[in-house]
């Protein structure tokens, strides 16, 4: 134990009677030698070098510097890296936008979801499907039952077979899923010069950068910089990996007219549709955060209480002293 404290600790404990006085009297030399070795002033520096605090703090400083450098420049210091690809091939990193649902306790902005649905329906749905969202999912999120029923009834669905074994079409019900713009993938590719418009149900979860990326992509269309050539039919978007994207810019100011009077600027529409798509990807989001609050509170309380109870139960066990009282020895 003493050895682990290091030299400084020995200095502090020196006044304590480590040896019995008898030994000291008998062997003054031994003690004197020890004192000489620990009391010298040059030892302060040595003990500083040897101390654990120094070791730990220097290690932390080193690791921290490396981590800081790596974070700042994206590569380890003194280890040059060579990339086969250009950085632009990965696309620009989107900035972090202050989404209204980003906080620990924040729900989605449901008015925004409603506007976003409108943008999706009027703009995106021309090419992109939303397979995993049914009409009923909108109920109580962005629309009333009656509104959703009315919207669903505008769409014809194929159903069947009926009694004669034939398929028939009927108007949509709440249980039906969002109608796809194309019958199948081939039709979708054929209609978009070979590029498949991805399904948007999980797009926010399925792309690096999530909502920030989708927003940046929608608003990030610019003219290609000098030296960058984009093939015919493709469009330049610095946020898209590779830079050339099949989808053209679709959001322009005033494209839709929001029923609540929100000005339909490009960024407003992009923000709303991304909020809607984020909801589509995580419809459980609001409930999940509420449950998260509950779970964190409950389990914190449980942790503290169980720590207390553990100490309470172990205290007598850890602090007990066992005495052995030998029985009177009668044999000798």
């Amino acid at each position: 134990m003493l050895r682990r404290w290091g030299a400084g600790a020995l200095n502090r404990t020196a006044p304590l009677p480590l040896f019995r006085p008898k030994n000291v009297l008998r062997l003054p030399r031994a003690l004197a030698v020890r004192n000489a070795s620990t009391a010298s002033s040059s030892n302060a520096f040595e003990s500083f070098l040897n101390s654990r605090v120094t070791l730990v703090s220097v290690s932390l400083f080193t690791a921290g510097s490396v981590a800081w450098y790596t974070h700042l420049y994206g590569s380890l210091p003194f280890l040059p890296q060579v990339h086969a690809s250009l950085d632009s091939d990965e696309g620009l990193h989107p900035p972090a936008y202050p989404w209204s649902h980003m906080g620990l306790f924040d729900t989605f902005d449901h008015a925004s979801i409603r506007r976003g649905y409108q943008v999706y329906r009027e703009v995106c749905a021309a090419c992109h499907s939303l397979d995993r969202i049914a009409w009923r999912n909108l109920v109580g999120v962005s629309h009333n039952v009656d509104e959703v029923k009315a919207m669903a009834e505008e769409v014809e669905y194929q159903d069947g077979p009926n009694d004669e074994g034939e398929m028939f079409t009927r108007t949509g019900k709440l249980a039906d899923y969002m109608p796809p713009p194309y019958a199948n993938e081939e039709a979708a590719r054929a209609g978009n010069a070979g590029a498949l418009p991805p399904d948007l149900s999980l797009i926010v979860k399925a792309r690096h950068g999530g909502a920030d990326y989708v927003f940046s992509l929608l608003t990030g269309y610019v003219d290609p910089p000098a030296g960058v050539e984009v093939r015919e039919g493709m469009n330049y978007n610095p946020f898209f990996p590779g830079g050339a994207i099949g989808m053209a810019r679709v959001l322009f100011d005033g494209l839709v007219e929001f029923e609540d009077g929100t000005p339909a600027t490009t960024s407003q529409m992009a923000k709303d549709v991304v909020t809607f798509l984020h909801w589509a990807a995580e419809p459980e989001h609001d409930e999940r955060k509420k449950n998260g609050i509950k779970a964190v509170i409950l389990f914190s309380v449980l942790t503290l209480a169980s720590l207390y109870v553990k100490r309470f139960k172990w205290t007598p066990i850890k602090n007990r002293k066992i005495f052995y009282d030998p029985p009177a020895d009668k044999t000798h």
């Binding site: 306790f105 962005s142 009656d146």
Partner: protein, 62 residues
Amino acid sequence: MSISTTLYNTVFRRNSVFVTTVFAGAFAFGIGFDTAVTTFYDRWNRGKQWKDIRHKYAESEE
């Protein structure tokens, strides 16, 4: 008599009472905790959830 002694004598002294209190308390706590968290959550997100904005659309529909 201090509060702790009263508490001990009323609740903790008999194990049957103690256990009953714990389970009854768990039931009440479950409801109360849910309500408290929901209240906080709704207050924190006032104006954002569907139940806060649905009246705008419900009226226009009917």
